[in-house]
Amino acid sequence: MNLYGQIFYTFFKIGAFTIGGGYAMLPLIQKEIVEKKQWISANDFVDMIVLSQTLPGVLAVNIAIFSGYRMKKTMGSIVATLGAILPSFIIILLIASFFRRFQDNPYVIKAFRAIRPAVVALIAVPVFSTAKTVGIRMKTAIIPAAAAFLIWYWGVSPVYIVLSAALGGLAYGNIKRLKQ
């Protein structure tokens, strides 16, 4: 298999076998491209993750673009991304075309009536784990609280929240630096 084929196959495998998105993919990506294929050194991999998390967008896609680029420039990044997203694309397309036909099934209605509050709980749990990771304290809790309130209660677009957070951080950091 040529290098493009290998890149595609490797990322297809990563895309097909990781359920739950970007963070769940990290260990498998590391195993495949750092340990098995040795396309990227362990140090570069860490840098790549940090940068992929810094940039906006889907984490798995950012990582695929980065690693593909390291191997075969722009063409490599396109091949890696296609490989990574194709499994979910096919599966979701099948579900989107079939699931809607089962939506009126009485058993599906019953099951999903209970699944929905459970899904909301699945989203609520990472609020607390992320708060811990980020190191939110009583003093800084006002920032996420205000962001959540503006989006939820006033319907402010998260786009404006993200933009003002970045600009606010830049202003605060630079004022502090200039004062010193």
Binding site: G57, V58, L93, Y107, R116, I143, W152, G169
Partner: protein, 174 residues
């Protein structure tokens, strides 16, 4: 035109979606449920459930699903999925050569000083937005929410197992 709207919406989601899948949810919900009304709140919640149980990130899964629902056509899925990846391509490829310089820049640290805690708020907003009358139909919903929260947070039950258990309890309770 619907394809152009899909493209613009998912480009925006790809460009402003910070902090991973859960943090992107409030932006996706704002765009596809509130602004464009391509799906209802309940169907959006169902997409999140399906996304938890299938491979792939929620950003891609929702693009593929909503693209299809909005157009009844595979090309809608293609357009939305390509659009959500495009900002990543532009950004990653433009900094790939100078990335060390890029992330040792103190300005980036300043911006993330506030962006990082804000992602917690983005996730909280997604949870609050979906705590609505459509998803919480009766007192049983509250019990399911509470027990799912406790089981996931404290007993570390896997999300897939949690959804299966909730589905079974739905068949028994309703």
């Amino acid at each position: 035109m619907i394809y152009w709207q899909l493209f613009v919406t998912y480009f925006k989601i790809g460009l402003f979606g910070f902090g991973g899948g859960y943090a992107m949810l409030s932006l996706i919900q704002h765009e596809v449920v509130e602004s464009r009304q391509w799906v209802s709140n309940t169907e959006f919640t169902d997409i999140v459930a399906i996304s938890q149980m299938t491979p792939g990130p929620i950003g891609i899964n929702s693009a593929t699903y909503i693209g299809y629902v909005a157009t009844h056509n595979v090309w809608g899925s293609v357009v939305a999925t390509v659009a959500v990846c495009l900002p990543s391509f532009i950004l990653v490829l433009s900094i790939a050569r100078v990335y060390r310089k890029f992330y040792s820049n103190p300005q980036l640290g300043y911006a993330f000083q506030v962006l990082r805690p804000v992602t917690v708020g983005l996730i909280a907003a997604a949870a609050l937005l979906l705590m609505n009358k459509e998803n919480f139909t009766d007192y049983k919903s509250l019990i399911i929410f509470g027990s799912s929260f406790a089981l996931t947070k404290y007993a570390k039950i896997h999300p897939i197992l949690m959804i299966v258990l909730a589905g079974i309890s739905g068949l028994l309770l309703y």
